[in-house]
């Protein structure tokens, strides 16, 4: 953690940290937490933004500000689980494909090609339609259609690293293949995958929100930004705030993930070696 204390975090990282805190503390920091529990107040439906309701209220009279903050929970869980699941599948496959080579590599990479041959959102739609539309299946579907990217990125790095002298030195010392892969190859090849994974967190939120929007993802009464936009479909032409604020939350969060990914990439460009004395001093 020595390296962390010396870094200045950009705004996007702070935004994500604050968002995560709010997501955890949503029942305590939102003005109308009962609105997230299916409370309905038809007497105050579709009120424009005001001091009492900063983002207005929706067709059921619920406070949009409260819902947006609660929506952060599902969105962050979605982002982490989609990317996490894709990493769990993709990283071992990429590591093995790059390190072992031969027929094993051919099989793994051809499987990846099959998954990559589908248009980006088509495969998740087909999968959720087949598994049954709910959020968990949407997460699995998106993760399954994404893991080949991590496999490919990691494999290409492993191909570069595996011939380096320290790998040969580790082999000569008597390490087994799996020891070499885990303690020598992986720590030196995972960085581009981590950058990509951070960038993908934003896209994961978008993809799952997209699936929710067309009815294949989160189902009511769950509160999810994509679903909120769907629910606002009939009202947002006259009452813009019902769709605008969940959309903005989505937009800003995706942007924050992208900026964080960019920052991480610049950071890992050569300066990520532990003990580097100077920034920008590439190895």
């Amino acid at each position: 953690m020595r390296i962390l204390s010396r870094l200045k975090f950009p705004f996007s990282v702070w935004y994500l940290v604050v968002l995560a805190v709010i997501a955890v503390l949503a029942p305590w920091v939102t003005p109308y937490p009962q609105d997230a529990q299916n409370a309905m107040h038809f007497e105050q439906k579709l009120l424009p933004p005001s001091l009492a309701h900063p983002f207005g209220t929706d067709a059921l009279g619920r406070d949009v500000f409260t819902l947006v903050l609660f929506g952060a929970r599902l969105s962050l869980i979605t982002a982490i689980s989609v990317v996490g699941l894709a990493l769990v599948i993709g990283v071992p496959l990429g590591l093995i494909a790059g390190f072992k080579g031969g027929w094993l590599e051919s099989i793994i990479m051809r499987i990846c090609d099959v998954f990559l041959a589908f248009p980006p959102l088509l495969l998740p739609i087909v999968l959720t339609a087949a598994l049954g539309p709910n959020l968990r299946h949407a997460i699995i579907a998106v993760a399954v259609s994404w893991f080949p990217w991590y496999t490919r990125i990691l494999r290409s790095r492993v191909l570069q690293v595996r011939h380096q002298a320290f790998v040969q030195a580790a082999r000569i010392a008597g390490n087994t293949d799996s020891q070499i892969m885990v303690s020598h190859i992986l720590p030196n090849s995972i960085q581009p995958v981590m950058v990509q994974a951070t960038l993908d967190m934003g896209y994961a939120i978008l993809a799952v929100a997209g699936l929710s929007f067309i009815g294949f993802g989160a189902q009511p009464p769950a509160i999810e930004w994509g679903l909120m936009i769907t629910q606002a479909r009939s009202t947002f032409l006259d009452y813009w705030w019902t769709a605008f604020f969940p959309g903005m939350a989505l937009f800003v969060t995706v942007l924050a993930f992208n900026l964080t990914g960019d920052w991480l990439r610049n950071l890992l460009d050569g300066t990520a070696v532990p003990g580097s004395k100077q920034k920008g001093l590439a190895e």
Binding site: Q164, A169, A170, G174, N175, D177, N188, P274
Partner: protein, 343 residues
Amino acid sequence: MIPVIEINNISKIFVQKFRDGFKKKIKRHVALRDVNFQVFPGEVVGIVGESGSGKTTLGKIVVHLLAPSTGSVYVKGTEITRLTQRQFRPLRRTIQMVFQNPYASLNPRMNIREHLVEAVRLSGIRDKAAVDRKIHLLLEQVQLSPTILRQYPNQISGGEGRRIGLARVLALNPEIIVLDEPVASLDLSIKGELIALLLKLQEKRQLTYLWISHDIQVIHRVADVIVVMFSGEVVEIIPVGERSTDVYQHPYTEILFQTAQKLQSGQAEVTFDSEMYQRLFTAAIADENEKQCVYYPYCTRYFRAGKPQICQMARPELKQVGPRHFVRCHFPWKEKVKVPDYA
């Protein structure tokens, strides 16, 4: 005595497949051709040659990192070239290699302590306190202070890197160590210290060294037998005895020794021989079926002898000319030439 390493007729051809437009092409590069020699227990065998002469390839074959294209290698009586990684494991700890570049051979994401812990664990010591004790013992043996343990590979100096490379190899209690350029590109004082350290360890632990270097002066100082390589071939094997009575016969060995002597005495001069330059470019790249002496395009002897056809037409055999003394040349110096006497 039974040789601890026996290298029989080793050749290594690197095959590179590539595409030229739509045509598939294959490029063959002969790294080693018909290499033969033996190493006896407790010996220091020096391998000398210029860059690209196949020294490191030979070292990697001996430690089972590369498989030769043809030929066989016996390590303590076991043929290793056809063994799988798993089958080779019993011999792993016996024969170790210290790599040329200390920075490249250390994992940039592990500190020195982690490197040594890994090596000590692999030697079979599991107990935490015993591992610690062993690490400190190793550091003492390679004359490093324990403060280095927390450093990362990019924070240490070249000399320290060599010592760490040596320490992690010693952790495994090997009998044979292949040293790839152990003292190249170091300050003179550190170089001297490191040579002394290596020889001390060799004596103390009864080690056998395969010492790869391009510096014939260092090799002549430390080795019992010198193997001179040129363009993937062994051109001469010289037994080293009393320094004043050592002899060589191959013209390439002569160039090596004379250059070392000239550098030593400050007589080195810039010579530009345009004819030689021409020959370098017209010389064919070695091919495994090449029927010529690999050295003739550079050979002073060839010119003084009036460009004899045989040098271009026939490949000389490695002939024995004395006890453990072999030469691959059609016209070895008739009278054995004494190794120059440098300080």
